[in-house]
Structure formats: structure tokens, C-alpha cells
Symmetry: C2
Subunit: 142 residues, 2 copies
């Protein structure tokens, strides 16, 4: 059963409703997550992180249109939110490496599902041949 089968889609809707019936809820959990990853450039930086990029100038090269200022800003936000960590490598010359924290790594499934949504549901936007395909093995208990 795929996560995009109607059977599971309906189930996820019911589960979303259950979330907001939970006692002791302080904040909207969807909003909380998007307050971390929802700003411009952030998911693209995370995408590069998941692809193994660690250095400032590599991010800058790989993400078209993003200025060093915005990169610097977003990296600091991610660091503040404990999604990434900044390591100074005492090499010659001194380098800096950014790494996903354990918390940051746990955003992987979410980013993968985001990718999967557009690959499955908007193939004309994503693929040159416009044909849907899916590299994932996400499933849902039925």
C-alpha cells in the first residue's frame, strides 16, 4: 500500500483530525514543523545536506540564485533550531563544516515524502517525459 493510495490518504485525513483532539496540545504541530523548514532556501540547503554537502561555498554553488547573505542567514537559523551543527576544522587553512544533527537527519522522511508527492502527483512539472515514477518504498500499515 502506497502512501498516496486513496485508502491511506483518507486515513491520514482522519489522523490529522485526531491530532487536534489530543489533550495537552500547546501549539499546532504542523505549524511548528513548517516554522523550521518553511522559509525560502531552507529546504534546498537541507537537500544539499542530505546529499552530503558540508561546505559554505558548495551550498552557494549548488543552489542557484541564493546569495551568500541568505545562505549565511539560513544556516544560522538551522543551527539555532538544532537541525545542523557547525564544526570548525583546524586544518590549514581553517575550514568550516556543517552537518545534520540527529534531529536534522530525522527530517529525511519528510523531505523524501515532499519529493515523492510532486514526482507522483505532478509528473509533468518534474519529468521531461511527463511520466510519473516513484523511487520510494514508503508504505502505510493497512
Amino acid at each position: 500500500m502506497s502512501l498516496f493510495d486513496m485508502q491511506y490518504v483518507e486515513k491520514s485525513q482522519k489522523m490529522i483530525n485526531k491530532v487536534y483532539e489530543m489533550p495537552g496540545l500547546k501549539t499546532c504541530p504542523i505549524e511548528a514543523t513548517f516554522s523550521i523548514i518553511g522559509k525560502r532556501w531552507t529546504v534546498l540547503i537541507l537537500r544539499e545536506m542530505f546529499r552530503g554537502v558540508k561546505q559554505f561555498n558548495r551550498f552557494h554553488e549548488n543552489i542557484e540564485g541564493m546569495t551568500s547573505k541568505m545562505l549565511s542567514l539560513r544556516l544560522r537559523e538551522l543551527e539555532r533550531n538544532k537541525i545542523i551543527s557547525r564544526k570548525i576544522i583546524s586544518d590549514h587553512p581553517v575550514r568550516v563544516e556543517y552537518e545534520l544533527t540527529e534531529l536534522g537527519q530525522k527530517l529525511g522522511p519528510l523531505l523524501l515524502l515532499a519529493a515523492s508527492f510532486s514526482m507522483r502527483q505532478l509528473p509533468k512539472v518534474i519529468f521531461k517525459d511527463g511520466k510519473s515514477r516513484n523511487p520510494m518504498e514508503l508504505t502505510a500499515r493497512s
Copy 2:
């Protein structure tokens, strides 16, 4: 196996990398999805949709701080992106109802996973008692 178990988290990282090795890729799939849902207020409107809200003024009441202008703007964007549809009910007086399209409903698993991320990984932000809990039954094939 939960989607946040390290075993699956590592797997999702590998799958993200595979996405960007796919031949015929035209756009970044993560970016494509976030260009639809990533703007301010949008996920909150979708949250209300999944909770069954259909009318303009209900959205306006339920989402604190959002002006009618922003609501109107975001509803039109969602409509343009085929996530919702606008139905005019010829009642007396005439009403308008917004509904999730089939495409829009398929965002359910993504929003649920976003909620699950913060409930599981940031319980102190989400719950009054600061204790992690998870209403979901998302699983990953191992």
C-alpha cells in the same frame, strides 16, 4: 518500524540521493512541492480543510492573526495550483464552499508526517507535559 527509526531515516537519506540521480529530471521535486505549500498561512488553511472547514469566514475565525486579504490571496493560489476547488452554492443567500481536490487530498500524508515530526522530535514545543507521543501508524518497509 517507524518512519523516525534511525534505520529508516538513513534509508530515506539514500533515497533522496537517488532522486537526484534520476534521468529526465526537470525540476527539484522538493522545491516543487514547497512552492505549493511553503508560503505563510498555506499549511494552516490546508489543516482547516482537512478538518472539514469549507467556508471563508470559518477559515478566518480559526486561523489566528490571518487577515481576510491573506486568506483570499492564499485561497486563490491553492485554486490555481489545483489543490482546492471553489464551489458556489446557489442557496439563499448564496454561499461559497472550498473543497480539497483529489490532488489536494494527497497532501494529507505529508501534513500528517510534518505534524508527526514535531510531536515526536520536539515534544517540549508541542505538548504541555513535554512528553512525546505519536498518533500515527506510518510505517516503512524494511
